[in-house]
């Protein structure tokens, strides 16, 4: 049976719950980056992770909870092989058509300030992105980042 590239043993794990407030977007990025530091990432790799987390958390706030109250659930698992598995979930309104939502520039924002590039940026800066959602129940984003280089000294 072919072993998944991301099926390695979990060597460490952290869970975080944050209110879905835009003021917490920076905290989410910093917390995930700090935890991933154990895998000795390069600066550019951590910057990739921070960007991807920022997109996912913003989606929870803007789209999942539509700027209403809610909780963002973040779980980071560090896997053998210097891999970070980052799960970001909300219990918001859910996405009716995930494939459509993942298209570049697709947005349900009518105000014209959202670019519709969140999923595209997440895909671009991570090694694997999985999105599952149920309307009325919420959305779960799982991203994998493989840290391949040595960290900067």
């Amino acid at each position: 049976m072919k072993r998944s590239r991301f099926g390695g043993k979990v060597i460490n794990k952290m869970q975080l719950k944050l209110p879905a407030l835009s003021a917490n977007e920076g905290m989410a990025r910093a917390a995930v980056a700090a935890f991933c530091a154990q895998l000795d990432p390069m600066a550019v790799e951590i910057a990739d992770v921070k960007c991807a987390v920022s997109e996912a958390v913003t989606n929870c706030i803007v789209h999942g909870y539509r700027d209403k109250e809610g909780i963002i659930y973040i779980t980071v698992s560090l896997l053998e092989g210097r891999i970070a598995k980052i799960e970001i979930k909300d219990r918001g309104c859910g996405i009716e058509d995930v494939s459509e939502a993942r298209q570049p520039l697709f947005t349900t924002d009518a105000a014209g300030e959202r670019s519709g590039m969140g999923f595209t940026v997440m895909e671009s800066f991570t090694d694997c992105l999985k999105v599952t959602s149920r309307v009325g129940k919420g959305t779960s984003i799982v991203m994998y980042k493989v840290f391949g280089g040595r960290s900067d000294t």
Partner: protein, 149 residues
Amino acid sequence: MCAAARDRKPGFDSEFTGEILKIKLRGEIDHHSAVAVRTAIDDMIKQKRPIKLVIDMSAIELMDSSGLGLIMGRYALMKELGGQTVVLDPSPRVEKIMSLAGLERIVRVEYTKQTVENKESRGHAERIASATMSTNTAQSNHKKKGSIK
């Protein structure tokens, strides 16, 4: 507030000379900070009515796609008023995010002389590093072959 937190505080500096409004964005540009700065920038645009808006991105430490929305919203307003928008000195990461959206085909991107020199020296350093790695790999392979009896 410690120095690191102060540096990360989002915001912008502005300069208006000769009908050109220059906005220098600072810190981290995300959904939170974009909401905070876009109204202030729009108010300045409506008040000053510049013929050109320059969005200087050289001091940005992090940007996600909210920055794209920030640029696109200001571009739309400037276009409505008959003005031009330029993005100045985006970092390689910001350039990448812009290119994912094809934004560089819509909004003009410019670089200052120092940025062009930095890009050239960075490209030169990368070429040397790549050549050194290739040489080291070739030497390593040669030694391995030599050691086989």
